[in-house]
């Protein structure tokens, strides 16, 4: 259909729908609940962080980072090796995030502070509390520590929310989301499902969720209840590689073949015909091998790369490279700072500090959000000098080629000149949005 005609037909359709609905007594809702539309707007540390010690509960090891102390107000054991911690601000402040974002949690284990990303899994509409769900990784320090020792009443220091694996819920949106999760990868996906179903009354969601056995499925009862409550809008499909007898759902490891099979099946479900799926956005989160397999499957299924959004869990965290950098640069290093080419300040980085920590301590208005190399908010350009950066991190090849580094995970090996770019408006930019 030519574009103007199509527009008219669509408008006519909406007009008729409105008239029919009104006549049946179904009136448009008087208002919509609003979710803060970006981390920057949600009052997240972007730009100048408070000086050290300002924040209630910020321990000495949090350094200059503007962490926030949250209290564990409920603890739910989801499966044998996953636990959900419900967090609230002890001062009653709101917790705002865009579904799909994560908190960086500072976990003290054996005298060391580990920074780990945990996706928020609860609905973004609920502002008094927010939940993270942590699954044990074999030999993992933070994940096992939290599973074994977290308790109601304890406080956790967090940073963020950060991350660009997000769906900004909008009441006006009418879209189709296909969400594919494996294991603990359900966490950001669950927040998206919960929030979008509540806010976008015209959107539809298909969720394909892979696990080993039935006992490994996180949020099973809650997801099943949502699927019943929103029948026709949430198409939920569990896929198990080790199914119990009489299992009615999908079977197999979420590899390329199983994934293609599930996508083909989805096309036969009411409301998800191929034409509808043509406009769908895909969100994928799970273990690395699954992510690769799904990426292949989606390519084969004909989904353009731009419509596929991925979140990797096996991303950067401190893996001892800090120690290596320390060994190589035992003395403090000087840093000259430029803003859009003009010199503005200078400071020193002590051997145990990151560029970000030292810059904030010196009072520079540096942007950051996750402080673990996962969001890109702290990007600066290295004009001169050499740094050691923890890998892997979220920098793209183009960014590397432009000489950009992540201040939160890099340590100078020599004197540096960096450019922190033009001033960013703290209100609108949304530190976390600048990410991948």
């Amino acid at each position: 259909m030519p574009e103007p005609l199509r527009e008219r037909v669509e408008q006519l359709g909406r007009d008729l729908e409105m008239l029919v609905n009104l006549w049946r007594g179904r009136r448009p809702p008087p208002f919509r609940t609003r979710v803060a539309s970006g981390a920057g707007r949600g009052g997240v540390a972007a730009g100048p962080g408070p000086s050290p010690g300002d924040e209630p509960g910020a321990g000495p090891r949090a350094g200059a980072l503007a962490t926030r102390a949250l209290e564990i107000v409920a603890l739910t054991r989801e499966t044998d090796d996953a636990v959900t911690l419900t967090l609230a601000d002890p001062d009653g402040g709101e917790l705002r995030f865009v579904p799909g974002q994560f908190f960086t949690v500072l976990v003290d284990v054996g005298g060391e502070t580990l920074r780990r990303a945990y996706s928020l899994s609860s609905s973004a509409l609920e502002r008094e509390r927010a939940s993270v769900t942590i699954k044990r990784v074999s030999g993992g320090r933070a994940s096992n520590h939290l599973n074994d020792h977290a308790a109601v009443g304890q406080r956790l220091l967090v940073l963020g929310p950060s991350g660009a694996f997000t769906v900004a819920p909008s009441p006006a949106a009418r879209r189709v989301l296909v969400l594919i999760a494996g294991g603990s990868g359900i966490t950001p996906i669950a927040a998206i499902v919960r929030t979008v179903l509540a806010v976008e009354t015209s959107s539809k969601i298909a969720l394909i969720y892979g696990n080993r056995g039935a006992a490994d499925i996180i949020f099973r009862a809650q997801l099943d209840a949502l699927a019943r409550e929103h029948e026709g809008r949430l198409e939920l499909r569990h896929v198990l590689s080790d199914p119990p007898a009489g299992w009615a759902g999908g079977v197999g490891l979420l590899d390329r073949e199983t994934c293609l099979h599930e996508l083909a099946r989805l096309e036969t479900r009411p409301g998800f015909d191929p034409e509808t799926l043509d406009d769908a956005e895909y969100f994928v989160c799970g273990p690395e091998p699954m992510m690769e397999a799904v990426r292949d499957a989606l390519r084969e299924f004909g989904v353009p790369r731009a419509r596929v959004h991925e979140e990797r869990f096996s991303q950067p965290h401190l893996r001892g490279q800090g120690a290596r950098a320390r060994a190589r640069a035992p003395r403090p290093q000087g840093v000259q700072v430029r803003r859009a080419g003009l010199p503005v300040a200078g400071f020193e980085v002590a051997p145990e500090q990151t560029l970000l920590e030292a810059g904030l301590t010196a009072g520079l208005p540096l942007s950051y959000s996750c402080a673990m190399g996962g969001c890109g908010a702290c990007k600066v350009r290295l004009v001169e000098g050499e740094v050691e950066m923890e890998e892997p991190n979220c920098l793209t090849d183009e960014e590397r080629a432009r000489g950009e580094v992540l201040a939160c995970v890099c340590r100078p090996l020599a004197g540096l000149v960096i450019d922190i770019g033009p001033r960013r408006a703290p209100g609108l930019g949304g530190a976390a949005r600048g990410g991948r």
């Binding site: 007009d15 009104l22 006549w23 008087p30 006006a172 009354t201």
Partner: protein
């Protein structure tokens, strides 16, 4: 007209509830169209009326596309052609401000009775009770939260209209100094969208849908191809409405961030109305035929009444009292003290401006008299007032009320 309304009310009351709302709504739309006796007015507002009130285009949950048909007026000579506008341009550049500089860190608790968004007297507890509305103290606070969020949501929707209208008017106006000035107004309106949206987002957590009558006004202005009608509608009528509403809320709110925000916005809006007066005054006096002028006189009068009579906050009615007959709700809204103040402030700004641009001719004066608007005739128009004097007036009134 009164007769029709009353008969319709009686008829409507005989119907079962669900259908009743629908039929009442339908009669209301009919009454609006019937009020526009003049065929030219019907032509100007009718189609927008159908799109807004019957089809509820603003509430369909999808972006609305409205075709504009004005002409962009280019001038390759860049003349300095209107000193008053040049001065406004200079002042507008001086008056720019950053949304970030407002005290956003203010902790706003909509349900805190100590720092109310609007005081209890805005709604008038007695008025509520007289109309059969009984609310507990906690419910009343929630109700006030709803009313404030509703007002601010309508401001926000209006600002979106103002943003696009300012851009269109900047294209269409023939004065080059007006175009330069217009660019600053576009910037201002963008900032207004930013601050209202952020306030709703961060502090009140909800956004009401656009009121059907506001939609009708915006739609009809967007589609009208005559630049002076856009001007009249946007710069004089809607800006006048906005100033009335902002002024009322500015005076009434006890929430410091909102007060500060409104103060900044009012300063911009005062310039906008001033510009409208300057641009239209000479045009209406020198360029229009008697017939064209008469059409604008009628239009302005009808729109003024529309704005007075029809912002009935039905969105709140549906949220809070869906079972209450709409006729009773209308009477309730008509009696709310804050809404009355809003009408006062609005007309005290609007009527002098209409006088100044030459639309209060002896031909239409009797109608204004009949509508009880005579006492505003002598007031100061926007070009005789500064934003400071306007704000001072509001502040003074607040102090007098407190005394």
């Amino acid at each position: 007209m009164l007769g029709t309304r009353w008969d319709a009310d009686r008829l409507v009351n005989l119907l079962p509830g669900r259908v009743r709302v629908q039929v009442d709504e339908f009669f209301e739309a009919l009454a609006l169209l019937a009020e526009l006796r003049d065929p030219r007015l019907l032509y100007a507002l009718g189609p927008a009326g159908v799109r807004g009130m019957l089809l509820k285009r603003g509430k369909q949950g999808a972006p609305t596309r409205i075709r504009a048909s004005h002409k962009a007026h280019f001038n390759w000579e860049y003349p300095a052609d209107q000193p008053e506008m040049a001065e406004l341009y200079a002042r507008a550049k001086q008056g720019q401000w950053r949304a970030e500089d407002l005290p956003w860190s203010t902790d706003v608790d909509p349900l805190n009775p100590e720092v109310p968004l609007i005081p209890s007297s805005f709604l008038g507890p007695d008025v509520l009770r007289e109309h059969g509305v009984r609310l507990s103290a906690a419910e009343e606070l929630k109700f006030r939260h709803s009313v404030t969020a509703w007002m601010l949501s309508q401001f926000l929707h209006g600002e979106q209209g103002a943003l696009f209208a300012a851009a269109q008017v900047t294209e269409a106006v023939q004065f080059f100094d007006g175009k330069l000035y217009g660019a600053t107004q576009v910037m201002d309106e963008g900032r207004h969208v930013e601050v209202f949206s952020r306030y709703l987002d961060e502090k009140l957590g909800r956004l009401y849908q656009i009121n059907d009558n506001l939609y009708v006004l915006i739609d009809s202005l967007m589609t009208d191809s005559r630049w002076d009608m856009k001007f009249l509608g946007m710069q004089i009528m809607i800006e006048g409405l906005a100033l009335g509403a902002f002024g009322t809320l500015y005076r009434q709110t006890r929430e410091p961030l909102l007060k500060q925000l409104l103060r900044m916005v009012i300063q911009d809006e005062a310039r906008h109305v001033h510009y409208g007066v300057v641009a239209l005054r000479d045009h209406i006096r020198d360029e229009l035929s008697a017939r064209e002028r008469a059409e604008r006189e009628d239009w302005a009068y009808e729109v003024a009444l529309l704005m007075r009579n029809r912002f009935m906050a039905y969105e709140i009615h549906e949220e809070w009292f869906p079972a209450m007959p709409r006729a009773r709700w209308r009477r309730l809204v008509g009696a709310i003290p804050g809404m009355n103040e809003f009408r006062q402030v609005m007309f005290s700004r609007l009527v002098p401006n209409l006088r100044e641009i030459g639309l209060l001719t002896p031909r239409v004066l009797p109608r204004y008299e009949r509508a009880g608007l005579t006492r505003f005739f002598g007031g100061a128009s926007a070009n005789q007032m500064t934003a400071e004097s306007m704000l001072e007036g509001l502040d003074r009134q607040t102090i007098e009320d407190a005394a």
